[in-house]
């Protein structure tokens, strides 16, 4: 366990966890992303002044917003699936179907919001 893995990086990247593993790793990336970026945003709003303004200008840039938005929205949609399946464990047998539904919810909302973010960029 831990840092002493007995598999090569190449083997690890080829791990065939498929859908459930992809959601697991994206959930981590999304959670970590929010922890780092949202903490930065709150601290920037707290200290305000020139430094805070510069940090928040970076945070509010449309490109950065797309990244943060992906982190947050995926974590929210995937988290709802995890919560439902964990609180009603009998549904766990339909995990893969639930993940397909999850993508069907996530992709349209994310795509529409990104279109709006790009359309209003700079405005």
């Amino acid at each position: 366990m831990g840092m002493t893995r007995n598999v090569s990086l190449f083997t690890a990247l080829g791990y065939k966890g498929k859908g459930p593993f992809l959601t697991f790793i994206l959930h981590r990336i999304g959670g970590l992303g929010m922890a780092i970026f949202v903490t930065m945003h709150i601290l920037a709003s707290f200290i305000s002044g020139d430094i805070g303004q510069v940090l928040n200008n970076i945070y509010e840039h449309w490109l950065f917003q797309i990244v943060v938005y992906f982190c947050a929205l995926f974590h929210i949609v995937n988290g709802l699936r995890i919560t439902i399946l964990d609180l009603w464990p009998n549904l766990l047998e339909y995990q893969r179907e639930a993940i397909w539904i999850e993508w069907a919810v996530f992709l349209p909302i994310f795509a529409l919001s990104v279109v709006v973010l790009i359309q209003t960029a700079g405005g």
């Binding site: 366990m1 831990g2 840092m3 981590r28 959670g31 970590l32 929010m34 922890a35 949202v38 903490t39 709150i42 601290l43 709003s45 707290f46 305000s48 917003q65 938005y69 947050a72 929205l73 929210i76 988290g79 709802l80 995890i82 919560t83 964990d86 609180l87 464990p89 009998n90 766990l92 047998e93 909302i109 529409l112 919001s113 709006v116 973010l117 209003t120």
Partner: protein, 145 residues
Amino acid sequence: MGDSKSRTLPLNKRGLNFEMLMWIYTRLSALGMYLFMFIALVGALYMGARYQMSLSDLMRWLFMPNVAHVEQVPTIQDVDAWATLFWKLVASGMYLLATSHGVHGLVVIADDYIVKPLGRKIVRFLSIVMMVSMSLIGLYVIWIS
């Protein structure tokens, strides 16, 4: 998938320690945040979001119903309704749930890589410091700045 039925044990056979409590808390705090997002959605629609906000503006408000998140929206002239005591309370509830949920999430990730008892103690100490300080700073931003 063949014979892969999930196996569940009743709670009294699973045991209940701090980690188990936090596992449940992570799910329940997530449910709490969905509730706050739903309140923010209904409130925003009631206050005119259907005509005044784009989807991305609305989502920003749902993630954190703080008035600073609608001040940039050009079609909302009067932001007073978005800065009431009610919304500050909703924002505070959302924020405290998010902080505790998030800091515990960081501990879970750290535990996958830091396995020695001393390292885990340090992680827990840092997590408590981070939770208390970020809770106070966030509440200051919501209520005062």
